[in-house]
Symmetry: C2
DNA sequence: CATTGATACCTCGTAATCCTATGCATAGGA
DNA sequence: TCCTATGCATAGGATTACGAGGTATCAATG
């Protein structure tokens, strides 16, 4: 096991409430972590495409203010994956924190 | 920033009390995380060599029971790096946990 | 005595993840 | 008019980790 990237998990989490598009997802992650986490576009979009290929999110295009945006929605499988990832994160982070000391 | 591998940090942590050799370092990490973290040799040795190149650990050879072992000792720089890494881990893990929910 | 398992070290090829840089395009403000 | 923010996307490279393989010693088992 060991560490796995948290980006897919964070993306899925950002989509639980409502669908969103790539740019906004990245902003939400940054905001909600108070600027600590800041994934770049070159990282975000490939991750998003991969999640779509795997069936964890699905996308649809919409046009807002003359611009077309690709919105992503989490699927049932995606919610399942999120639950697993959450549990895994908890286990791994606790393990590392246990060793490094929490004080 | 975002996530960075925790292995170098865990190695340095394993060496704070006393010098050790590769195999034992891996075992300690596994034990102290109750089996959750389990880095393989193909991961551990390159990481150890890299830390030595960077001056974070230094090594010396010793012969025990007819077998030669390479022992690693953390350096002053290594302790500095450990302190920084610890702080970084705390910041990043708190950020992710904040988003994913700790419940 | 031979084989197996644990100890101990190491390298190579591959996969995954992320970054930087770059490209394209539109909208709004300086 | 130009710059910034928005919005999507790809290419190239670095880093990290894993699996598989190789070498060797020692103790226990058969």
């Amino acid at each position: 096991m060991n560490f796995k990237g948290t980006l897919p998990t964070l993306i899925l989490e950002a989509l639980t409430e409502e669908p969103s598009h790539g740019y906004l997802i990245a902003q939400r992650i940054k905001e909600r972590s108070q600027g600590v986490l800041d994934f770049k576009e070159g990282t975000l979009y490939p991750a998003l495409h991969k999640l779509e290929n795997e069936g964890m999110v699905e996308s649809y295009e919409s046009v807002e203010k003359g611009r077309s945006r690709r919105h992503y929605r989490i699927t049932r499988s995606g919610r399942g994956m999120l639950a697993k990832d959450r549990a895994e994160w908890r286990e791994l982070s606790q393990a590392v924190t246990m060793i490094l000391g929490e004080a």
